[in-house]
């Protein structure tokens, strides 16, 4: 089922929340503008803050096809854009020879035609189907190398791809492009210039509560509150890698699996590996530091309840 593009910021927020994505207003505004003006959206942020998720949710709630391109170093045209179907071409040549047809000129136009072309994600994204233009997710662009980034420039500004043997293939309808980056290197300004930029930050406590409640419907309310407050405090600590939203969800889920309804020192120490992924960080927090944070969290929650009640 196809949904029309949102026409206000509120509609954008609603659209995302239908897909269980709790966005803040800044993100919704940037996304709304990108959709409205047909420009790619460039999302940068730490790992695990929900960049990739936006594209997935968008495709799902708009009812569009999701075309995903995972970037890696050395990603080239033959795996990102198109590849000729060599075995079919060879067979075609042999068949032509067996049939006694030896006109190389016509054979060459035959086997380098669209029929023999294997479409890779970027080329697929230029093709619309009955539900409209697809959502193109270019994931972790910072992992690709500079030549590929340069190649993207033509696609992102004109939405067309040039295949030397065939000619230029142009998108009938502009796809919705979402680019994500973990910033393991800086993306060139020329590419950023063509996109709308949004830095995806860690969510506020309020929004994180909402996210946990949405993603893990069965979870105990008190536990959620403690978990989120603990993680929020942890993000103020001096750590090498701060926990993202994905880690919060993992942790909350892990604690639920262990039938915990309230946080305690032992449970934290045992499950810290779902939250922190560097040994230095774990060693730093485990034990007394965790107990201190927990005490603080419990004090805050109880004082908040006292003022409310």
């Amino acid at each position: 089922m196809t949904t029309a593009l949102p026409s206000t910021i509120e509609e954008t927020l609603t659209l995302l929340s239908q897909g269980n994505y709790i966005a803040d207003r800044r993100l919704a505004t940037t996304l709304f503008l990108a959709l409205k003006m047909g420009r790619p959206l460039f999302l940068e942020g730490e790992a695990g803050v929900g960049k990739t998720e936006i594209a997935k949710v968008l495709a799902q709630s708009l009812g569009r096809r999701l075309v995903r391109l995972q970037c890696y170093e050395g990603l080239d045209v033959s795996s990102a854009v198109y590849e000729w179907n060599y075995s079919r071409q060879m067979i075609e040549i042999r068949l032509a020879e067996a049939a006694g047809d030896i006109d190389r000129e016509s054979l060459s136009t035959d086997i380098f035609s669209r029929e023999f072309l294997i479409e890779r994600p970027l080329l697929q994204a230029l093709r619309s189907d009955e539900s409209g233009a697809p959502v193109l997710l270019i994931d972790e662009l910072d992992r690709s190398d500079e030549p590929f980034e340069a190649y993207l420039l033509e696609i992102l500004s004109d939405f067309q791809i040039t295949v030397p043997e065939i000619g230029t293939i142009k998108a009938v309808e502009t796809p919705i492009v979402i680019i994500t980056s973990n910033r393991t290197r800086e993306i060139h300004d020329a590419l950023k210039r063509r996109c709308f930029y949004h830095w995806v930050d860690y969510p506020s406590a309020e929004r994180e509560l909402e996210i946990v409640a949405t993603k893990l419907p069965g979870i105990d309310k008190q536990l959620t509150e403690q978990v989120v407050a603990f993680v929020q405090h942890l993000r103020e600590e001096d750590l090498f890698k701060l926990p993202g939203v994905a880690e919060t969800l993992d942790w909350a889920d892990a604690l639920t699996q262990l039938d915990k309804v309230t946080l305690d020192g032992e449970a934290i120490d045992n499950t810290l590996g779902t939250l922190l992924k560097y040994q230095d960080d774990i060693a730093k927090i485990r034990g007394s530091e965790a107990a201190k944070l927990l005490e603080q969290v419990k004090f805050e929650i109880s004082s908040r309840q006292n003022t409310n009640g």
Partner: protein
């Protein structure tokens, strides 16, 4: 006035004009621009074509011939201004080129870049006595202060000898740099993989058998990150090392340069696309802890937390230039060194103190850093910098931290 002089003095006959262009080219060459005789002939033709009536046209004509990189423009502009607007300087120039007379310098001289004034054959008034003498050996100073000194250091006193020497070193250094196979391929008949696309294209041209075409992985050097200590105890070396960093940053892509004393400053942007004089001036304005105390641990921590994930991707190599005289606790330093060594392909430490034959790592800071370093090299003179090129070109396996 300048215009009228131009028309009367330089322009009247072609022979004079050609000679003047020749002198101008020699001035530029002496100042370090790569200009050959062919360029000079082209320049003479170019000036003849545009005419010499309008100075602006002549400027454009000459710069189109003599400037071929953005960072040379600065120097060219200055040289042009001095040479063509003030014939007296030019006369003196000719005097030094064909050594006969020397006229006293005038105030215009003071604003010239040092390289230019040296190229013109006289020493400038703020020159230091030792600037032209042997700079190859430096002194290590065993003093480090805790105070962060907010200073503005004038780099103008760098001499041409030093630049030339440093450039020569860098020219040797950059060529054999280690390269790594990438996942990209290029056509190569000696390659080990079949290049299907070329093979099929070739098969359409030949009439019988399909000629096989091959490909092999392209090779590329990894990114390089330089962390340079500019604290007080390193101040004897930092001038040279900044030249070193400037040259590397401009010769290779994917180089990131940082300086630190009490805080970390990313100077990559300032070092790029610029004449070395301008670049170093910008750096001296930007860096505020010049010759301050040393807090290696704190600066490495800042690097690890803020920059390492952004610049150490794709198998980067890291070069630390420091004497290791740490003011803060050695424990945190060793912690940060471990993190750094785990995030980089290879960690190379250049230490100017290593020149002493009986050097022993007694200082706590040095002992804290040493276990995590893959290569520990000296950097007190040009020779040691040259030897660095050998280290960088080796495919040595990474040492595991003891």
């Amino acid at each position: 006035m300048a215009e009228s002089r131009l028309s009367t003095q330089h322009v009247l006959d072609n022979g004079r004009m050609a000679q003047n262009i020749l002198y101008f080219a020699r001035l530029l060459r002496a100042a370090g621009l790569p200009i050959g005789p062919g360029k000079v002939l082209d320049a003479i033709t170019a000036v003849k074509l545009v005419g010499v009536g309008v100075q602006r046209d002549m400027y454009c004509a000459l710069s189109s011939q003599f400037v071929n990189r953005f960072d040379q423009r600065e120097l060219f502009d200055q040289a042009f201004h001095i040479f063509w607007r003030n014939p007296r300087i030019m006369e003196r120039m000719m005097g030094t080129m064909l050594p006969t007379i020397r006229i006293e310098r005038e105030e215009e001289h003071d604003q010239m870049s040092r390289r230019l004034s040296e190229a013109m054959g006289s020493s400038s008034n703020n020159a230091r006595d030792d600037s032209d003498s042997e700079q190859v050996e430096f002194d290590a100073r065993f003093s480090f202060s805790a105070k962060e000194v907010l200073q503005d250091i004038d780099f103008e006193t760098m001499s041409r000898e030093e630049i030339a020497e440093a450039k020569r070193v860098i020219a040797k250094l950059r060529l054999p740099i280690m390269d790594l196979p990438t996942r990209r391929f290029q056509r190569d008949e000696q390659g080990y993989r079949v290049d299907m696309r070329s093979t099929l294209r070739a098969s359409l041209r030949s009439s019988d058998a399909i000629p096989m075409k091959f490909k092999k992985p392209q090779r590329k050097h990894p990114p390089l990150v330089i962390l340079c200590d500019i604290s007080g105890s390193m101040s004897c070396y930092s001038r040279m090392l900044l030249h070193f960093m400037h040259a590397i940053t401009n010769d290779r892509d994917r180089v990131h340069a940082f300086v630190f004393a009490t805080r970390l400053t990313n100077i990559t942007r300032h070092l790029r696309h610029r004449d070395v004089d301008v670049a170093l001036e910008v750096v001296s304005n930007e860096v505020i802890d010049w010759s301050g105390g040393t807090r290696i641990g704190a600066c490495l921590k800042e690097f690890n937390n803020i920059w390492s994930r952004r610049v150490l991707g794709q198998g980067a190599m890291t070069l630390i230039i420091s004497d290791g005289l740490e003011r803060d606790s050695a424990e945190s330093l060793s912690w940060q060194m471990e993190r750094l060594s785990k995030s980089t392909r290879r960690l190379i430490w250049l230490n100017p103190l290593l020149r002493y034959e009986d050097f022993e790592p007694k200082v706590a800071g040095i002992r804290a850093m040493l276990p995590y370093v893959d290569d520990f090299r000296s950097s007190h003179n040009l020779r040691s910098l040259m030897e660095l090129s050998e280290v960088l070109s080796q495919h040595k396996p990474k040492k595991t931290a003891a």
